[in-house]
């Protein structure tokens, strides 16, 4: 499959269909993958495609304005491109979408950092409840029947962790999040990795006025994490990159999923399904529930 990808990439670059291809290469440790940016035929040899290709490369699109970009995507990554198109952040004509059928990606956090060898693959949480491995649209499909067709344990409840939290009392819930957020170091990796966090100036950086404490304390940490999640309401497509990037293991997907669930229930809306869909927060529908207005 990597071969097919390499050949396609070479072809695209030779025929000048694209200026560069954003894809994956083997990381320096020889085991994991790392993002790569290919602009020559020779470099196309570096491209790989396997379960280590965890990154959502869509966050790199903004680095190459006005270039014709080929980008290797999984189904979940594609949804974030859909939102970027919906929000006019990328031009479709500058994009060449290379969708690769997905073998499921690893849960990096479960890798033993001391082990110097390749380890048995444990799939990421998002993959375990992934609904389809067929991309909605693409320009090129790198397809191969996956041996792991049992990967998506369809029927498994994707909101199970959220329901568990919902079942707790408010006090217990607050205690839970207080202890999780207390570890936040405010590195903003969750924001930087997110393909949909693209504000040129983040609220966290504003100082006149400062919206919340820069201090690593409960007030600042809580404000940051809630703000981040709320700014993605109706936009987050659950690629899980924030949670993966978080060095201190805060379960950011649980917050995202909670908001996603509320939105589904209230507005029957799911982010990233189609480009034509109007963004949730910039449209109004007469049937929107309004019992919160008192």
């Amino acid at each position: 499959m990597s071969e097919e990808l390499k050949n396609k990439a070479k072809e695209l670059l030779t025929n000048k269909k694209v200026d560069l291809i954003i894809g994956y290469q083997r990381a320096a440790d020889g085991v994991l993958a790392a993002p790569c940016f290919i602009d020559s035929q020779d470099d196309a040899e570096k491209l790989i495609w396997d379960s280590y290709c965890v990154y959502n490369l869509a966050s790199y699109l903004k680095d190459f304005p006005a270039k014709r970009k080929g980008i290797v995507v999984k189904v979940c990554d594609l949804k974030s491109i859909t939102v970027l198109l919906q929000e006019n952040q990328v031009k479709r004509e500058e994009l060449l979408i290379i969708a690769a059928s997905c073998p499921g990606v690893i849960d990096e956090k479960r890798l033993n950092p001391l082990d110097q060898q390749a380890q048995e693959i444990v799939f990421a949480g998002k993959c375990k409840t992934c609904k389809t491995i067929t991309p909605a649209y693409y320009d090129i499909l790198i397809n191969e029947p996956q041996k792991n067709d049992k990967l998506s344990e369809i029927g498994q409840d994707e909101y199970e962790p959220v329901r568990k939290l919902e079942a707790k009392s408010i006090e217990e819930r607050f205690k839970f999040w207080e202890s999780e957020f207390s570890r936040c170091i405010r590195c903003y990796a969750c924001r930087q990795i997110c393909p949909l966090c693209y504000c040129p100036k983040c609220v966290a950086e504003q100082i006149t006025p400062g919206y919340f404490s820069k201090g690593v304390n409960l007030e600042g940490n809580l404000s940051w994490n809630i703000t981040r999640a709320m700014h993605l309401a109706g936009r987050c497509i659950d690629c899980g990159e924030c949670e993966r990037a978080c060095p201190v293991g805060i379960p950011l997907r649980d917050i995202n999923k909670k908001i996603e669930k509320e939105i589904k229930e209230l507005f029957k809306y799911e982010a990233g399904l189609s480009v034509e869909q109007k963004p949730l927060l910039s449209c109004f529908d007469k049937s929107d529930p309004e019992d919160f207005i008192k």
């Binding site: 170091i185 405010r186 590195c187």
Partner: protein, 329 residues
């Protein structure tokens, strides 16, 4: 000076320390990793091979520190320093690279200029290290003057040897706390300890070469190429045991010192709107030059201890060791 203790004896000693010291050590949070936290019982400690995500730096150069408070109170000016550390602390289980990191931070915060907050925390703290016997694949301390068994910056260093611990005592502070442990290792035990050290050193497989100077390649296209995947987050700088950049922030009437890092796009943003490091190329190059060139020129050694944290936790697997090793000098 060497001492030897059974595991239970060491645990008892640690429980004893708890009466006089605030004791901090690595604890395992299931599914999250290892974190330094205060302990209430020797059983809380994780003294295995995995190392903490955040280095002990945060207990000395803290992520955010209130430096002083000032303004107008009842019509007159006031300026108050925030009280300095008073309580005696002990940190147990510190890794050689992190302790060396503190020795490097001392060059910044405790030489010509003395940073009161940092110095008071350093003075009040005893550091008891733990040697590494199974270094990770991203560790490269032996390529940069360190080793998994080095005691620099520590008061004492513990080696786990089967059912026993060998304790190497380095400073007077270390001697004081371990005077309750009278037993010295015999010849056999010393031999075993020495071969354990050799084994630990040999277990560290990653070797890199570090160029004498990077002067000639400041303008090289190399930096643009190697930095292209960087997402400009703060993971590498915040988790680095030697990074020490900060930002001063006013909050209410307090002056707050918070971590900052060269990776952030607004780190060098000037009030005029100009930014001398506008892209990640300049920013990443700065990180490498500060660690592997400038600091050596100013302070005689590199500002990296080879702990591998910035590699292990980089969300996009940027690998500073490879980048320095392959630098086209």
């Amino acid at each position: 000076m060497l001492r030897i203790a059974q595991k239970e004896e060491l645990q008892k000693m640690i429980d004893g320390f708890l009466a006089d010291y605030e004791v901090i050590g690595p604890r395992e949070l299931p599914g999250k990793g290892i974190f330094y936290q205060p302990i209430t019982n020797a059983q809380d400690l994780y003294l295995g091979e995995r190392f903490a995500i955040e280095p002990v730096k945060k207990f000395f150069f803290r992520p955010s520190e209130y430096l002083f408070e000032g303004g107008l109170k009842e019509g007159s000016e006031f300026l108050e320093g925030i009280p300095l550390a008073q309580n005696k602390r002990m940190i147990i289980g510190v890794r050689p690279c992190e302790a060396r990191g503190l020795a490097l931070l001392d060059k910044i915060f405790n030489t010509e200029y003395k940073d009161e907050a940092y110095v008071s925390l350093r003075e009040k703290t005893i550091l008891v290290g733990l040697s590494c016997q199974a270094p990770g694949k991203d560790c490269f301390c032996t390529s940069i003057g360190g080793s998994p068994v080095q005691a620099r910056g520590m008061d004492a260093l513990i080696f786990s040897a089967g059912s026993k611990y060998v304790i190497e005592i380095i400073t007077d502070k270390g001697k004081d706390i371990f005077d309750t442990c009278p037993k010295e290792p015999d010849k056999e035990e010393i031999k075993a300890w020495e071969s354990l050290k050799e084994k630990s050193n040999a277990a560290l497989r990653k070797k890199i070469k570090i160029p004498e100077s990077l002067d000639n390649i400041f303008e090289s296209g190399y930096w643009g190429k190697v930095s292209s995947a960087c997402i400009s987050c703060g993971v590498c700088t915040y988790l680095c045991p030697t990074c020490h950049c900060f930002d001063l922030v006013d909050e209410e009437r307090k002056k707050l010192r918070c971590y900052d890092g060269c990776a952030f796009s607004d780190f060098t943003l000037e009030a005029s709107g100009g930014n001398p490091r506008p892209t990640k190329m300049e920013r990443y190059r700065q990180r490498v030059f500060h660690k592997f060139d400038y600091f050596k020129k100013n302070f005689g050694e590199h500002l990296c201890v080879g702990c591998g944290r910035c590699i292990r936790h980089c969300p996009v697997k940027m690998n500073i060791a490879e980048i320095v090793d392959q630098a086209p000098v």
